[in-house]
Subunit: 325 residues, 3 copies
């Protein structure tokens, strides 16, 4: 599967929309090499040995942090966690100052998660380190989109012309936004569905079909991608209640009949069991939710590798025991 004509010259990964189709495919191809590393007895390659990676998480996220941390460790990088809510920021230091400090500590790669859209772009404009966006407000979450594309391609091959239906809280979702950009670059057909407050007609401007008819949305889908319902939205009256949401848009046994038997069921996690998806569907053979997690680690290894200037991942030596003997 590995394509020798890799195409990656970027120093940062900030979003999906600025990637070319060829760059996206390079990340996916590179990830497929690193996915195999995760299946070895010794899950480690020395690609980033002696490099310094910082997890700068201003918005907490244990799952994403752990995925990046493991990715960095498997590339033999040094990694430190820098969660700032409780420390320097409360003393009045700016995000810019924090990042300049990390750069002064000769950080090679800064992984930033931040509640403000544009944070990663902002940093990339002044730092010499590579910046990886691990989620910035409602804007972008490119590694999540890339792992979704990877999972879809692994099961369905070339995504050109494939029907992808995305369900749920699309308006506020950086995951949805990033996935839509990525899917369009690879030529997929996208249908969006959910409550009108969360899936306004205006999203059609992103090149998607919008429908409020679940059956219609599900009928032709090769891939059904559910989004997490954010509990916070409920207080903002975006929809009446989780129960209401589940009643009209949750994927349950009845509605599953509308889905083609060979369609993939996806969800970025963490899932709200019984809200956007019933437990038995989430845990069924048709769901690839956990594969997405596995692929996320491979994607993050690939991104760390590429922004650091890596090439030809298939030629990396293994970290084996013999050299220590």
């Amino acid at each position: 599967m590995f394509n020798p004509e890799m195409s990656w010259a970027k120093r940062h990964l900030l979003d999906i929309q600025s990637l070319t189709k060829s760059e996206i495919l390079t990340v996916l191809d590179t990830a497929s090499v690193f996915k195999q590393v995760g299946q070895r007895a010794i899950k480690k390659v020395p690609a980033l040995r002696g490099k310094t990676v910082v997890n700068l998480f201003v918005e907490p996220s244990t799952r994403t942090r752990v995925s990046f941390e493991l990715a960095a460790q498997r590339l033999t990088a040094d990694i430190v966690n820098f969660t700032t809510e409780a420390s320097s920021f409360k003393k009045g230091e700016t995000l810019k100052d924090t990042v300049r400090n990390l750069e002064a500590l000769t950080a090679d790669i800064i992984i930033i998660r931040h509640q403000s859209a544009g944070a990663a772009h902002f940093l990339s404009r002044f730092t010499k380190a590579s910046v990886i966006n691990a989620g910035d407000g409602a804007h972008s979450h490119p590694t999540q989109a890339l792992l979704d594309l990877y999972t879809m391609r692994e099961h369905k091959g070339d995504l050109k012309g494939k029907q992808v239906t995305i369900l749920g809280d699309i308006l506020f979702s950086r995951v949805a936004r990033s996935s839509i950009w990525g899917l369009r670059k690879l030529g997929a057909q996208i249908t969006l569905c959910g409550p009108p407050t969360l899936v306004p007609k205006s999203l059609e401007s992103m090149g998607c079909r919008v429908t409020y008819d679940m059956q219609e949305a599900l009928a032709q889908a090769d891939i059904v991608s559910l989004l997490r319902i954010q509990h916070e939205r409920q207080q903002q009256s975006m929809f009446p209640s989780l129960g209401e949401y589940s009643k009209f848009f949750g994927l349950n046994k009845e509605r599953l009949k509308w889905v083609r038997p060979d369609a993939l069921i996806m969800h970025p996690g963490p899932i709200n069991r019984g809200v956007e998806i019933d437990s038995d569907i989430a845990d069924s053979e048709r769901s690839v939710i956990l594969e997405q997690v596995t692929n996320g680690l491979a994607i993050r290894m690939a991104v760390l590798f590429l922004v650091n200037g890596g090439q030809h991942p298939q030629d990396l030596p293994a970290c084996d025991l013999s050299v220590e003997a």
Copy 2:
């Protein structure tokens, strides 16, 4: 001391009661090899190189977490800390989902600490990773029990027929419960003593003698094992006050006269100085409290090594500097 006929085929360490005597001895023998690693200039072996260990601590415990973290590092594993109180759980994800996610990140070993009895067993029923119980509610804390057995054996040899007196909050103590199981498997004679609210007669069903007479409890002991008094209990009226407890059951200079001069004084830590034990006794030559901590690291290295399928620890190469030169 190392026994070439090792006996360990388990993928998990969930409790003490399901271990055979031979399995317990295998852990202790393996730990004795790893204890020597801790005395080398380079305290590291490559046994778990490229393996992924996750510290999944739902109940906080810095001491136990650090002990496991160092154990994993000394085996050259990659380790990440995943403390969940503040993250995914508050978003409604279940423990099962969290563990499946860690498994999807190809975690090899999950160390779980949880306030609910049975959490480790529960996980082991569905995960492909090895599960190590680092304390589950009032149920079990097997590595603590194993380090206690290790320390006792190191000082007193074969524990068959040895008199072990356990003092304090036994009813609610996972440490006590685990130790009792382990001691009985190795043939020790156990006496329990403390306030009747914390040491009910019903504990005799575990094969122990229960007495409320401190002098009698201490007189024949080869080993005196004190338990930490949990401050929380006081609010639940299990005993009148810490002062009262100390007055009637604390090990002080006077009561120490009842103890044989060669008896070991043990405590799992952290100690309440002046409550269950007087400071000068805790810090005396007769106390092995800090040896227990050292042995805990060796036991945890042994358990990580064994659940990962390790054999013949004495043949492990050293991680020395020369290969890096």
Copy 3:
């Protein structure tokens, strides 16, 4: 620059005042070797391989913690973070017990940050581990002072007779106190300036000139070192307001005219932009604030290396990829 006649026999780094001039120069010379490591493609040497370093931070400080953590990783040590506010201490265990436990886990080096002056000295009196003071109350912060001296010497050469002006909250600053000791040992002339509540005349007893005239304080300075204004002080009526402070003692464009063009502008960070220093000065070519951060990492590597008994850092092999291939 490296001096083959190194002079270091201490097991701890507790403060600056107990170091000889020769010891200070040894740290600076060693740091200059490690600074080069930070500029390599593979920023790592195996000097502390298999050694255990513990970051014992009782007072939170992400920046200092990360700097020490990276320093330890670049020396290939194993490092664990032990922040205790939330754990053992609330259960009543003493600092002494915590450190004895870390020692029992065969920690080689304990880095302690604590809100109480004297904490590091206290620990060093009973532990077999090496102790590094990472800030204790208003007492000392020796690695900060050493990185300041390093930065000054790198730019200005031998500090004997150099004019150093320190501005701001000197009375309560462990950084200022440590720097003054270090500067005097290296023969610099020190002028202190700031509001009388924060810079009392009594500081002259430390061998410094005290003046309340900014122009006079700045006029002859080879080096201007600003201190962070602690917001907390404001509530204690040490000065009327941040605005007032800035008006009378902030380094702005007007006052910069009083500073010699070749003078260094320093600040330990994190800076309060617009309070003790204007943003455009902090970010100008004349400021070495970020160099101080880079040098801090090199100083911390040097200190870890030296207290561990290291010698001849220039002879350390590189951690390169070839041995893993």
